[in-house]
Subunit: 253 residues, 4 copies
């Protein structure tokens, strides 16, 4: 039974900041957003968690193992080094979607994303140490079969990108609706999802669904652990196993 801890990260009042007093140079906004995400990847990653860039002004972390003091330090470190601040809201749930729902509600209750007076909220609760288990987090790592041969080396880059994007958009929506999972594109032809207690049949079903609706063929490796880092590296190895055996689903637990 999973017990996912999710952190909703939101830059305070970002929309207005990007156009005050004048619209800011796009290349600087891209640099700022990407480097903030990279720093959060390290700050959470150093504590065995995963962060996904999502919309950049709103990001989602699978933060099992990161307590509230850790969150406070991460928030402080960003405030010391960036021209913006962040609000963090933490929650847990038997499914990732449930945990995120609670996390977002807590944040919305504290104020709008564009409320100039709402700054550096830190709310929520973590999984109590005594209740943590090796099955709290389930990570699924998907990639597109033969992406290089079928797309990258064949089509122009935007048409390859369209294929990957359509595949991702269908998978993320299906995983959310059918399986209460949160799936994120992480570059190349890779998608990483945080899932509740799903089994092989669930993953085959999701893969078939994407194949039937948009014609993109996926394979997936699945792992679990007490923290995202462990579940995630296991999932990567399981995906390599798929490559070796030719199987589309490898569950490594």
């Amino acid at each position: 039974m999973t017990n996912t801890q999710v952190t909703h990260i939101q830059i305070d009042n970002y929309g207005p900041w990007t156009v005050t007093p004048e619209p800011r140079r796009e290349v600087d906004l891209q640099t700022l957003q990407s480097r903030l995400f990279a720093d959060l990847s390290q700050l959470f990653g150093n504590r065995d968690a995963y962060v996904f860039f999502t919309r950049f002004d709103n990001m989602i972390a699978v933060s099992n193992g990161v307590d509230l003091d850790d969150h406070a330090l991460i928030q402080e470190s960003v405030a010391n080094r960036y021209p913006v601040t962040m609000s963090l809201s933490v929650a847990t749930g038997t499914t990732p979607a449930e945990a995120l729902g609670t996390a977002t509600e807590q944040l919305q209750a504290a104020g709008s994303a564009q409320d100039e007076h709402r700054r550096e909220i830190l709310k929520g609760r973590v999984v109590d140490e005594e209740f943590r288990t090796d099955e709290d987090v389930q990570i699924a790592h998907f990639d597109v079969n033969d992406a290089t041969e079928k797309y990258t080396d064949q089509l122009n880059e935007f048409d390859t990108f369209i294929e990957i994007e359509q595949g991702y958009a269908e998978l993320m929506r299906h995983m959310r609706r059918a399986h209460d999972s949160l799936a994120f594109f992480v570059g190349g032809d890779n998608v990483i999802a945080t899932c509740p207690e799903l089994d092989e049949a669930d993953y085959r079903e999701a893969i078939d669904h994407v194949q039937e609706t948009v014609g993109v063929e996926l394979k997936v490796g699945v792992g679990r652990g007490a923290v995202a880092a462990d579940a995630g590296i296991t999932a990567k190895h399981a995906l390599e196993e798929c490559r070796a055996t030719g199987d589309d689903v490898t569950i490594e637990f």
Copy 2:
């Protein structure tokens, strides 16, 4: 008449590198990818160009004003500071899609993305100085109407993300198929596209299409210039004009 110069940027042999000798820590790959994109945003941005992260291992730049020597220096700077190298292919065309098609073909002709012997290709041609005009680049900056009120402050973050993502997936595919344009999600609820010579009716048509197919309402500001930076900042101001007038399309030229 537009004359877009596009650069296809591709990390050499990246897929194999990420799993050799063992799969590498995901948080480190995310940090590497994001920081490389941020650096390219500055390297191209300092020369008035725009870069879009696209798939991170493959990126697309609107590079009018960046000549081949500039591309060589950018390539060298990355090789000096990263554990990977990049290949760059430059081309021009009356539509962005045409320019990218040529750029990608040139790169594919030099070798596969996963050919371990293909490193640091630099190929192509730029718009000759004597032929450059103030109409070479057309940039359209879209955002979602009332995203904060309708989505960010209402739904859980992943459901907001699904709405934005579905809207983006539909817009990017439509702009490519109907208008030979390349559209990129850039964070928040923003999409920036590089377009050929489109007019107000084309933009209204695209916005209506997205509204009808996936129910997401967009507005757009459009600008043009000799370089992406000029076209882009004009488009941002045009988007602010939309906010002021309530109009869904503002063309500022």
Copy 3:
């Protein structure tokens, strides 16, 4: 009684790498070195340690609280994201100089800094958990009296820099020779030193020595703790106390 844990960090084979196959662009080397230091500042800083840039290809950390597994992860993270690798050697001692001496010897025993076959050494021992106390680390934070009024707003920047540099060179040599301490310039007019069990008389003596030999007037705040972060923030507050009282030495324990 202090029990300082010191890590000697050395980039493997860096000298040869910077000129192979040709000398690399200086601005890229500066960017690489500074960002590596910044990343180590966060990687160690997230575990309550301090890192000092020293010579950039060789850096020194006060690493109480960072165990060997942590060191291995830091080493791996850098190898995943940089074109160079690092060797790390850890040791403890009743004085910082003693600890560093042991750490450097261990590293030298494994091979030369320019031995192309010596890569990613990880050696040493940490302070056993059961023996750790609140007095393990003593940090002294020095700054120059009235630096802005006497130098920054009066002299040209290089002449100000000469004054600060001469003051630092004298202090660092004296603290090493007379007090087995390691002192590091950290920007502005600030020097941070890791010291053994020193008292107020020792600090006044050091300050007098620098005043007499090079005419630079210093004040200092001193703190201690089980880790550098605690000792360091206490020392910063003690330095602010000096500013408030006009006293040149404030010991806060």
Copy 4:
């Protein structure tokens, strides 16, 4: 005849910012300072200039080729991405020390480094395009003879650091006083200086002076060009020539 263009870069009101409302975490200040320097290294470096970290809150650039519009864009880019702003003052002179003197005076005239109302000054003049020549910049690249064998592989790292530091402190003061040059430690055992029209005898004299006063043996490669990048890379090659011939001074022009 040299005609060095120097930019004095100063973070606005930095001292007070680092302790308001409370002293900030040292590891975050180190990260901020180093990354700002790295970014400036790229921003100036992309325009063929060199930047030296100096005191981090005050930095010095050899900025021939970077005009006032470029300086304005660099200033804007930093303001978009950092929690601090910078003031820039540009000047030229037949010696680097003279140019810096003028640059600093201009900045001081605009207000104190800790004047909370003085923000983002941009003042000065650049070398007029019509007067630029291939002899405007002279760069000397020094390093310590056999540093690895004599120091790095023999002494503990801090004692090696003391030797390098004492050598640097003596060289930088002598080059300033006797030769109106500005010399900067750039990592490892390397010092880069921007000089006026000096000849071989001047460099041998400086090397002898350091050998006699502090016992540190240096060699130097010297180059010149219209911009720091050209002069600097020539100097690096000249230094490699020293390594090959055993000569202590190689002038490559």
